[in-house]
Structure formats: structure tokens, C-alpha cells
């Protein structure tokens, strides 16, 4: 299976990449972490940390290529994440549901998750959050645009659920490093 990365800007060329290679690479990463850390909680933490490091860099690439402006509220942020960012990097468009009444929490429902193609969780790793890297990426990326968020998986197809659901909660705006001129 191949996917075409969408043609976003004149300098971003059309890339063709094997998604199997991506799935294999991510799988190798997770299994190595499992060997290194021996317990699922630590692996989850490491995945989140690695994701965070990816996120703080990926956001610049995203902003440079997608040309989206600053989001005015969390709903806009949710839209951009699901419709532009996920599409751009993973080729999927999750749906946005379950808004909290205060508008500060929502869920991303992923029908399919490219990271877990062909993956089955064995019984001895039942508390492993396989795709936890994604949570870190989202957290790191949003932190660079002055939003502190909490991201976690609430449903996972690897654990028997019908869909994969990521819950995102807005915690606060990060005021200390605000680029000057933003109110």
C-alpha cells in the first residue's frame, strides 16, 4: 500500500512512500523500547517524550507548508488538526466528536490508524499504549503555538475497541513565551 503525500506548496514535492516501511519502522521502535524498559508504563512515557520532541519540530514544518494562520479558538484548532495536519502527515482525516459543554475537550475518532496496520497486542503488554507517540506529537506541537493540552487515548482498536479515540483537553494558554504582538 502506498500513499501520496498531498501537494501542499510549490516546494513540497510529491513523495511516494511505502506505508509498510513506516509501520515496520514504528513497530521496531516500540519493540525495542519494550526490550529496553521492560514495563509498559515506562514505554508509554518514552513514546510520549519522543512524540513531544517530534511535535515541537513538526509544528514548524506544518506551519511553513500549510500556511494556516493562528486559530482563534479551540474548535478551529480541532478542525485544523483533523482536516489539515492528520491528512498531511498520516493521510487520514479523523472525525471530531464529543465536545464538552465548555468547548475545551473533544475527541478525535480514527477509523484506521496507519501506525497499527498488521499489529496485534500480545497479552503481556496489555497496558501498552502502542500509538502513544501521537499523543506526544500533538502535545509538543500545540505547546509551540502557546497551547497547553492534555492528550490521551481513550479507545484503541488494538485493545478490542471498534475505533481508536484520542481525547484532547485544552488546559491553558501559555503566556510566558508569547510571540510579541499576540494579544
Amino acid at each position: 500500500m502506498y500513499w501520496y503525500l498531498p501537494f501542499i506548496s510549490p516546494s513540497a514535492s510529491m513523495h511516494l512512500m511505502s506505508s509498510e516501511l513506516f509501520t515496520l519502522t514504528y513497530g521496531a521502535l516500540v519493540t525495542q523500547l519494550c526490550k529496553d524498559y521492560e514495563n509498559d508504563e515506562d514505554v508509554n512515557k518514552q513514546l510520549d517524550k519522543m512524540g513531544y520532541n517530534i511535535g515541537v519540530r513538526l509544528i514548524e514544518d506544518f506551519l511553513a507548508r500549510s500556511n494556516v494562520g493562528r486559530c482563534h479558538d479551540f474548535r478551529e484548532t480541532a478542525d485544523v488538526i483533523a482536516k489539515v495536519a492528520f491528512k498531511m502527515y498520516l493521510g487520514i482525516t479523523p472525525s471530531i466528536t464529543n465536545w464538552s459543554p465548555a468547548g475545551d475537550e473533544f475527541s478525535l475518532i480514527l477509523e484506521n490508524n496507519p501506525l497499527v496496520d498488521f499489529v496485534e497486542l500480545p497479552d503481556n503488554h496489555s497496558s501498552l499504549i502502542y500509538s502513544n507517540l501521537l499523543c506526544g506529537v500533538l502535545r509538543g506541537a500545540l505547546e509551540m503555538v502557546q497551547m497547553a493540552v492534555d492528550v490521551k487515548f481513550v479507545q484503541d482498536t488494538l485493545k478490542g475497541d471498534s475505533v481508536t479515540e484520542i481525547r484532547m483537553k485544552f488546559i491553558r494558554r501559555i503566556e510566558d513565551n508569547l510571540p510579541v504582538g499576540e494579544e
Binding site: 506548496s9 516546494s11 515541537v56 519540530r57 509544528i59 514548524e60 514544518d61 506551519l63 511553513a64 507548508r65 494562520g69 493562528r70 509551540m144 503555538v145 513565551n177 508569547l178 510571540p179 510579541v180 504582538g181 499576540e182 494579544e183
Partner: protein, 119 residues
């Protein structure tokens, strides 16, 4: 005429503070800060990203196409500096590929001259 590293640092820190003061002083709310500074001998262009990074270009006052140059530099930064896992954020960028591509982009912009890049 090239600026020494020290002069660049001074320019950057001074400009950062001026930018901050400028945005506060602006009569318009939600000002985007100092985008351009013009003098007789040069023009200073600044582009601030949503993440707070500022790209500053010093150019000849007649040079056109700086806006697209700034966007191109943003892309080059996000590619060669950020995707290099050995580059740490906020440190001076010592990546060869970044320098090479930056030079190329500058040459393209310079050739375009006062009339802007061709179609």
C-alpha cells in the same frame, strides 16, 4: 559587507526588544510587530512565525521578493535545521545542508533583482 557573529547577536537581541516595544506601542490592536525597517542604505525585513521565531533579512532597499524569500527560509529552516536530529532548538544553526540551501535561496532572490522573481 558581512556582519561579525557578535554584531549579528547584538542586532538580533536589539531587534527583538524593539519588536516587542513596537508591538506594544502600535495604535492598532493585535499588531503583527515590526515587519519592515527602512533606511537609506538598507531595508530590514522581519517575519514572525506563530511559534515566536523571527526571521530577519537585511537587504538592499530596492530588492523585491523578500516576502517570498522569508517564507522560503522558513521552509528551509523547518527542513534542514529541524529535521536534523542533532540540531538542538534555540542553538545557533551549524548545519551544512541548511547553509547550502540558504545560499541557493539567496542567490535566486538576488538574481531576481529589483523587479521581483519572474513568473
Amino acid at each position: 559587507p558581512r556582519l561579525s557573529s557578535n554584531e549579528k547577536l547584538m542586532l538580533a537581541s536589539m531587534f527583538h526588544s524593539l519588536f516587542a516595544i513596537g508591538s506594544q506601542l502600535s495604535p492598532e490592536p493585535g499588531s503583527s510587530g515590526i515587519e519592515m525597517l527602512e533606511t537609506d542604505t538598507f531595508k530590514l525585513h522581519c517575519f514572525q512565525t506563530l511559534t515566536g521565531i523571527k526571521f530577519v533579512v537585511l537587504a538592499d532597499p530596492r530588492q523585491a521578493g523578500i516576502d517570498s524569500l522569508l517564507r522560503k527560509i522558513y521552509e528551509i529552516y523547518s527542513d534542514f535545521a529541524l529535521k536534523n536530529p542533532f540540531y538542538s532548538l534555540e542553538m545557533p544553526i551549524r548545519c551544512e545542508l541548511f547553509d547550502q540551501n540558504l545560499k541557493l535561496a539567496l542567490e535566486v532572490a538576488e538574481k531576481a533583482g529589483p523587479f521581483g522573481p519572474g513568473p
